[in-house]
């Protein structure tokens, strides 16, 4: 989905303010409700029954343990990447490079898994995920470096590096990492030892969601309970105050970008090792931008990123069922996501314009 980039700064500014849990959650909830309501009208205009459509969507999303597992798998990379983006936005660093960071994370994880097929089952996925996180961190650090050394705005740098990152993956799949004779740009199947273990036997649900929950808790603690989080919040609120407090802007920007890149890279690794079991061209498509939307929907609170990510994940898995059952096309889910974001942006704009005493 596309977002108005120009509003990011203003949004980050608004979001830095809200600490109260209820205040943080009221606007996003309202936005979601309004978006669902408006979409219901669209479904009605298309001649379908919106209630049936939504019922099918909910059934498709959470109708069985199997579906829940698929939804959780879908949400995992969103949550992982969203937490990193939220931390960046807190420091007023507008990182929209999630897609490229995810792509390179997946590439690195694939490479490690294919390099050491003989490694034992627990060690290999750990190594591969670490490699993915490192690659993502490196890619984000490169963007941070260009911003800090050359003064190019990070929105531009991270956006453009997305294309480069995705193309590097394509290039690798056309060359050494590609599966010979498959006719499709993808890697060979990864060795079974590299696959992420499943949580429930017989379902697709893998351990990724546990990692995501741990990251959410760690992100919350980092933001509110550590000196590093304090630095992020001061820097995001006022650059001169940060300088006055002895907080190094370059060091903080580099750290938070690398951290967000590592989480995105981890998400890429989880996606490859837990869902596809191979690297597929374009597997990260749209993930980075959805993560930005989720971070904003979560009002830049790592804890709230979890429900926001789950919402997006279940919405997407439910959409297929909705199409099958009622004939409402899946792109309608993008409409819901887009409307939600528009309402959130509007709500923030409105609350910013309220007169102050």
């Amino acid at each position: 989905m596309r977002l108005a980039l120009g509003r990011f700064d203003a949004l980050a500014e608004r979001a830095v303010v809200g600490r109260s849990f209820y205040r943080a959650i009221a606007w996003p909830l309202l936005a979601v409700v309004l978006a669902l309501g408006l979409t219901a009208l669209l479904i009605l205009f298309a001649g379908k029954n919106p209630l049936l459509a939504y019922a099918a969507l909910v059934r498709g999303a959470v109708g069985s343990w199997d579906r829940v597992g698929v939804g959780l798998n879908k949400a995992t990379p969103y949550v992982l990447t969203g937490v990193g983006v939220a931390l960046c936005f807190r420091a007023r660093v507008i990182n929209i490079g999630g897609e490229g960071q995810i792509a390179l994370g997946g590439l690195a994880a694939t490479w490690i898994a294919l390099m050491f097929p003989q490694a034992p089952p627990v060690v290999l996925p750990l190594l591969a995920l670490m490699a993915g996180a490192l690659a993502g961190a490196g890619w984000a650090a490169l963007a941070a470096g260009i911003r800090l050394r050359r003064g190019v705005h990070e929105v531009l740098v991270t956006l453009l590096l997305n294309f480069v990152g995705v193309l590097i993956v394509s290039e690798a799949l056309q060359g050494t990492l590609g599966e010979p004779g498959s006719g499709f740009p993808q890697s060979p199947l990864l060795p079974g030892a590299a696959w992420l273990p499943h949580l429930l036997p017989g379902s697709d649900l893998h351990v990724g969601i546990l990692i995501a929950v741990m990251v959410v808790v760690a992100g919350h603690a980092l933001l509110w309970r550590t000196p590093f989080g304090f630095r992020l919040r001061v820097l995001g609120a006022s650059v001169p105050a940060a300088a006055y407090a002895g907080i190094s802007e370059p060091r903080t920007v580099l750290s938070v970008m690398s951290l967000a890149g590592a989480l995105a890279g981890l998400a890429g690794g989880v996606e490859v090792l837990g869902v596809h079991y191979r690297l597929i061209d374009g597997f990260s498509h749209g993930f980075g931008f959805n993560a930005v939307a989720i971070a904003l929907l979560g009002a830049l609170n790592p804890i709230a990123v979890l429900p926001a990510g789950l919402f997006f994940g279940f919405l997407e898995t439910g959409a297929l069922a909705m199409q099958r059952a009622v004939g409402v096309p899946t792109p309608l889910v993008s409409v819901i996501q887009g409307l939600t974001m528009i309402f959130i942006l509007s709500a923030m704009g409105l609350s910013a314009r309220r007169p102050k005493a």
Partner: protein, 512 residues
Amino acid sequence: MLRMQGISKSYGAVHANRAIDLDVAAGRIVGLLGENGSGKTTLMNILFGMVVPDAGTITFKGLGLAGHSPREAIAAGIGMIHQHFMLVPAMTVTENVMLGWEATGRWLRPAAVAARVRSASSAYGLGLDPDARIEMLPLGAQQRVEIVKAVLRGAELLVLDEPTSSLSPPEIAGLLGVLRRLREEGRSVIFISHKLGEVLEICDEVVVLRDGEVAGRAAVAGIGRRELAHMMVGRDVGAPIDRVAHVAGAERLVVADLAVRDAAGIERLSGVSFSVRAGEVLALVGVDGNGQAELAGVIAGVDLPTHGSVFVDGADVTAGGVTARRAAGLAHVPADRGTTGLVAEMTIAENLALRAFDDPPLRRGPWLDADAMDKLARERIAEFAIRTSGPETAARTLSGGNQQKIVLARELGGRPTVLVAEQPTRGLDPGATRFVIDQVLALRAAGGAILYISTELEEALLVADRIGVMYKGRLVGLMPREDVDLSRLGLMMAGALEEHPDAAALYGVRAP
């Protein structure tokens, strides 16, 4: 000429204006006094049509004004000169005067406007060149451009918001002369200010606002400075400053040959050397923008000097940044508490921890210690009498005086050895100003060395043991307070006189 009656305006539970009456007769200069948040700005915004009042009527030259826009206010003959000038820096004086002014008809006629600027300039003694670009003009001249703009648009009532805050003493004298000439013509002026001295000098009458209400009004002829201050804050702040005479001790802050170039390579500070001893206040005066901010920045470690060194208690901290200076006991009250000294969105507790959050006891292992932060905040709130509902209140909700108390509590609470205070009383009412000065003098008595940067001569003379003058990035004068000659000081601030301080001989500054 102007009659505002029963003006009320509230935002939620806050009464910004409550039943305010304001009368301005033709040919009178009325001073509008009041601390920040007392309702002056709201009242003037209502007059200018930028805010709609809840109740009350405005009559201007016999005509009612209600629901009017700023454009209509200008057309009626009200001119507003804001503290921050509304000029386009890259355009000339004439172009700025023409901007948004349709009196020249369908076609722009720069030559005709320039002629009118020239004649107004000579009539009021403004000394403006119509073809000069705004960005090349000093602030005093830019202000005169604003005055010309208003006068040519036919303003019969001029509202000046804090007009002297960035002017040098000779420029202030010039401005007051211009205002007198406008008064002679029968025009009226509303003069908004904190500075009691100027108000008493130029105004015919004063109206004092406090908490959105009129706290008092008086003819200037019959009132003194102390009564005015009392009206503004509602209590007596005129008690004599307790300033113990004593001999200064060892040098605690030494700066040697400091120079700073900005990003464009322009020298903002050059060859500044001085020292401040224990138990001494050195006040640096000068018009805003003559290198004081750069000097404070490099001493406090926010910026690095391009040349020179800073020593605190004999230790070279030049390259160490903010952290090294804090470790050496240097405290810093920055000029802009809104964006630098405080983080408005964060809580009082977080703001009190702003510079010490990474040191024990506020940091315990890898974690911030919320309990320690809370404990520190409660101690400081009590010690510095910060009026707030608690440590978790957002700093932005406090008044200017209480915000500055947070900054002072943070910086002075740690018993610093050296204090760099940049305009610590800017925008504060007399009560809060007095609090700041008392705190600074308490640190002086305790053996601290204080560098006090101010644009207020009067205040500098009150706190200082020595006075230094900054002009165009250099220290152009340095003298003990007893030797100060006010007119000479004014000339130095305007750059017309330079006394190379024979620092080595007089004050024993060594080149370390």
